[in-house]
Amino acid sequence: MLEGLMIGLSTAFSLTNILMVVGGCLIGTFIGMLPGLGPMSIIAIMIPVAISIGDPSAALILLAGVYYGAIFGGSTSSILINAPGVASTVATSFDGYPLARQGKAGKALTVAAISSFIGGTIGAILLMIFAPALSTVALLFGSPEYFALMIVGLSAIAAFAGTGQVAKALLMTIAGLMLATIGEGVLFNMPRFTFGIMDLQSGLGFITLAMAMFALPEAIYLILDPNRSKTEGGTNEIKDLRITREEARAIAPVVGRQSIQGFLIGVLPGAGATIASFLGYAVERNIAKKEDQEQFGKGSIKGLAAPESANNAACTGSFVPLLTLGIPGSGTTAILLGALIALNVSPGPRLMIDEPQIFWAVIISMYLGNVILLILNLPLIPYIAKILAVPRTFLIPFILFFTLMGAYIGQNNATELLILVGLGICATILRFADYPLAPLLIGFILGPMLENNFSRSMNLFDGPSFIYERPLTLGLLVIAALLIILPSYRARRARLRQEGVADGD
């Protein structure tokens, strides 16, 4: 391993390669801030550039820089304007945006940058040590287990999103799953629920729904209530960038746990950063102390650190199946696989033996990417956070414009914009009635994966017998059921107790 490390270091620390990382991180961060362009599309755009470099290590280093930059950039728009452009940063906006509204945008960005850095670094270390061993674990997970894992993820979200009102959160989750069935599925060559409208054939776009659920209602709220755009501190100044010692102590265990958990989830093909960030948020919320729990969703730095470290660690984890098995675990790694093949490198079990310099250069470039990202971004944070100081008369039209652009770039179709506005109005009304919107979006994101794994399992086992025949699947499903039942049971008991006290008075 040491020998490999040396090869990697000597490859990565050449002048051109360091320039590649710096350039990649910068490009990634700035393009990633535009809602609608996630790491996947940015990497896809950068592939021709990377291929024209010719040297596979340099190309991969550039792409890894772009990847990390894009993830950080995506968090920025989630935190500042509640417009998550990437599925894996949706959980970031749960606590990042409330923090920004309290005038702590600078601190939120710093926490995000540092958590991402640690998540990515721990992920890279784990990748280095465990990559060969983990690839065998990933193979143990068949479609039934993926199906069950996603059910666990969805129930965890429903349970945490609707505190005391699990039915609403569940209904929203199911609504999201139903929206995901619109269009032509992967497994069945048949349009469903399209009402004969051609534009619905390919289904609703993720960006469209994300913008409609988060950015649009928020913008409409900002218009409805002019006082809202003033941050609660009264001034729009960016103060306290620094994290205090207590805060650092509070988030350290969260970051540590989520880096490891995120990495492990990222290793599973198909699970990836999105599930890792949601599960990370849900887990941290459930194990937090009572008074900390209250803060989640209202601007908890723990709630911000958890998804940020988890999604970066998971991104690193998703390189395990790619590099060791040649199986891309996510859309982004699939594109990277394409780039690798175009560069005449075939990932798989033989990569570490045949071309160790590439394997190690990727790992070293991950470290480098993370370090450079931190160095570049920490000084930039005050300037990035200034976005919030823009007067609302300018900020709101721009937020609306960026949501429109995001949906348009994603689908290249003007009908999508009408769908966006329609869904945005529905989402605003749902928000009036206190329905949680995150479960709907998460249901929509996980819907196709859930259905595909469900269908595949049904085909393999010729019926639903996989649910009770496979212990791992059954165990995961039991956890999912407990997640739903326990909180509502607890809420009911607490309410009964309260009522009892009232009677006694």
Partner: protein
Amino acid sequence: MALDRWIALIILVMSAGYAYTAFFTMDASLAPFMRNNPIWPSTFPKVLSVMAIVAALVIILGFEKANKPRDDDPSVIVYRRLLDYQVAPALILIGLMIAYALLLRPIGFLAATVGFLMIGSLVLGERRLHILIPVALIAAGSIWYLVQEVLGIFLRPWPAFMGV
């Protein structure tokens, strides 16, 4: 009945329609050889529709107590007092977004965007035209350049009749 239960009722009706499609009409076009499969395109929607109907009924019938309305929390907009808020600008901006969607292709990206940003700011009370106009022009121009030239995604800049 509170707004959340009305919404649950609407979702219930939509789920019923979804269920009807899944259970009765969708399988009609299924190829004969696929009928032997353990899973049909309608299987998953069937499960979902049943779950949605159950969840909606739980809310409508009030099995789960709704959270107390948080009237005192300033970050929550109380829909019962909706008219106290700036409803007119909100509706105008929503209309503006629809207009943008419809006009984007015909009049081109640059004109649509500059118009959108300017009218949007004016509606929200911005009167400093000497700032507003340059900002809108620069933003539209630079975003177009970024998307079209740097990223290579086609955006028609000028009106359709100009032939680009």
